[in-house]
Symmetry: D2
Subunit: 250 residues, 4 copies
């Protein structure tokens, strides 16, 4: 598999899913890590480089057009990325959710944050990534891929989580529209419904599914799934998957 | 049916659905009409008053918090509305959609407009309406009701209409969350998937469904449906309906 | 509303929804009640006739082709029905579900019963009713209507209720296919997701939703809803509704 | 990966998906091929054996309880299978669909055939396979898996294809119920929505998607997908995927 001339970009990299996805795709491609704070990507970049891979971290606010455009401009000038094609773009940003709160206690700022991080960020990211993914169609080892991380709330509004559903529904609507527009052009757009608590440092203390073993979703399992989606042949694209631990009620 | 102490408010009133809904609810309640331009509600207010009803038009930008809050403050001071309870609130705003356009030719402004008019406007409207609807629960003739107008794009993203799906999916996610939170408190929240071209002045020239009679959706049929939703007994709330002409492909 | 030349037929009549639907439609039309046992329809026929309406009960096994065909033949010869048009056909059969049971403890007989009463019965009923409904299109006061009663299990398979979901999913698939085929011909086909325990004699002792008032779905509310669906103008057909008490979790 | 003590069974093997799935799983496990006619599996068994694998064909009518039970009894006595554990069971039967036909021209036999081959066959197959899959939970290399092949008609009823939707909806309802019941016990149950014309000998002459390259779904792509589902870690099970060519409208 020719990998040296293609790279992947992951928006929303921290200690959880983003890190696992970056490590997974780094086995095949140089990777770019976008996060709002350098602390979020610094160690992962080092981890990849130490393992012999290639990684570039760029401090980016995906909710701001200039920030996203400047990140993509920087990639295309960076050593080892200039001249390379974009093989995969993963939108994994999940900020902007204020937690469980009665609707009447939320504020318009909560809503705006949810809209900014979810549909607006995805819009800006897709706007920069899709022209590059389209360019890669004729030559990339796998169909160029845009993957969007969703959640239970992407398909189900819940009491006391109204801001959460708003952002996730919107992101799903955008991903589905993009799939219908870009699949025929050869770019694979997939949406993943992550219906679980993910097993990351922040959730280490949570008791989920009565503490059953593997009762939280491993971020490495998500990364494996994203890689699998990326490698699907164009005769069979999956547009949407759900993913949850065996023990999870649904 | 005691109606004199309750009123209805309709956001997004123009020549089409909003007008029909206002006329329908005006048979039972004084109605408030919110629109961005006085031209949008002026004739309808006159039509209702001439028919012996009561109507109040308020120039409102539902995408702005101050504007929505000031509209609701004005209602509660207006003659004939002060002291009355809110029986029904209908969110029928559909601005903010730039039409068929390849994704890469849209701009962040298109997206922002779609988000402002759809989830953001609904959020602000619901934030002001729900406390009043809750107050009406013990005394209103029918369960107080919040109805949200959706579209085909509420459940289906389409190529070249990405901005449309983003806003409509988000609005549906919010409506569903609100239903799950406020149904148990006695407020009915319903979402209507309008899967049709509506038969309004603006669409008069469109040939739809090969020009079949009744091939467009009558706005009066939508109004009848909304009234029906409002009058459902609390032992049987409908959260979501679809509505389309008999001849419409789906 | 001209009613004397049209009638309605309800399959699956007992002490609950079927009775309420029959009483409701009997206000506008002579009604035919189909049930497997005369005990299921006898009192309802009397109740309708005593109230000045017209009703005919026919002992029918909807899972048997000959039985269904013979019921429809009998209707067309019966005094007061001969020569009349079919305005509405309601399929409300819900037999064939063996209750909560681990899958491995169910038998093929449970499955066969679920399939017989749900898709097979609906198929046979629709096969006899649709030609009559089509004939009524040009003259009936409302668009001729076929309504199918579904359940939560129509859209959601559940652990320990596998037989239930099988039958309900199948019935929904058939109703949706029929809608897509017969709507353009003027016959309205609607499916109702009854997401509740219905308040009927059999469930009187159940504590539902912590015993909240109106915590069970009133069968009269279902009947109102079915009548409403029947009276929708052809410019706006609803194909599917959900219906549940305000207090029901969903 | 220890494979010698586990086997896979595929119901519905012919020239298309079943063959590809059998060949794929045969790389890891001895496989059993069930088909109504020996002609359907004979060449595939030979192909697998010639390639150094192990395969057993059993003539089985999945719509008959005795036939399915006798097939599973035979497996457990067969050389190379006796004493082994069941790792994966794939239900790929798609018979029983009479093609495009107006509903009123179908017969109850068409419906019965659709019900027999889809929910009834899956029921019988699952009834025999699940106890064996449960036994394999503690020791199998991957979570034991039941995979069900669905179609566009699993989630969408279409005009003139009513029998098709009935069977596919039912099968999906059963698969979803089984997932909710058996996932917590460690058995993975997945349903695949195959939204495409599959590229098999029978469809070779069809022009699909304007003859675009890879415009039909490769059966090998389906097989890869099923294998991937089988290998998912229990911390992240996918219950449902869609699969369609990049160029397919949806």
């Amino acid at each position: 598999m020719a990998t040296k001339n293609f790279y992947a970009v992951i928006a929303g990299v921290g200690a959880g899913t983003g890190r696992s996805v970056a490590l997974k795709f780094a086995k095949a491609y140089p990777v770019v890590l976008l996060a709002r704070q350098p602390e979020s990507y610094r160690d992962i970049v080092k981890e990849i480089v130490d393992a012999g891979g290639k990684a570039l971290g760029i401090t980016t606010d995906v909710t701001k057009q200039e920030s996203v455009e400047s990140a993509f401009a920087e990639i295309q000038k960076a050593e080892g990325f200039a001249g390379a094609g974009l093989a995969a773009a993963i939108y994994n940003v999940s900020a902007g959710f204020g937690g469980r709160k009665p609707f009447l206690e939320t504020s318009i700022n909560d809503l705006d944050a949810a809209l900014a991080a979810n549909p607006r960020g995805l819009y800006l990211f897709a706007k920069s990534a899709l022209p590059l993914l389209l360019e890669s169609v004729p030559t990339s080892p796998h169909p160029p891929t845009l993957i969007v991380t969703g959640a239970t709330a992407s398909v189900r509004g819940s009491a006391y989580f109204s801001g959460f559903a708003v952002g996730k529904f919107a992101k799903r609507g955008l991903a589905q529209s993009l799939a219908r527009e870009f699949h025929p052009q050869g770019v694979h757009v997939a949406h993943a419904i992550i219906d679980a608590v993910i097993d990351i440092p922040r959730t280490r203390g949570y008791t989920v599914n009565n503490g059953a073993p593997d009762g939280k979703l491993s971020p490495d399992a998500i990364a494996d799934e994203y890689w699998h989606l990326h490698t699907q042949h164009r005769s069979g694209f999956t547009q949407e998957i759900d993913l949850r631990p065996y023990i999870e009620k649904f």
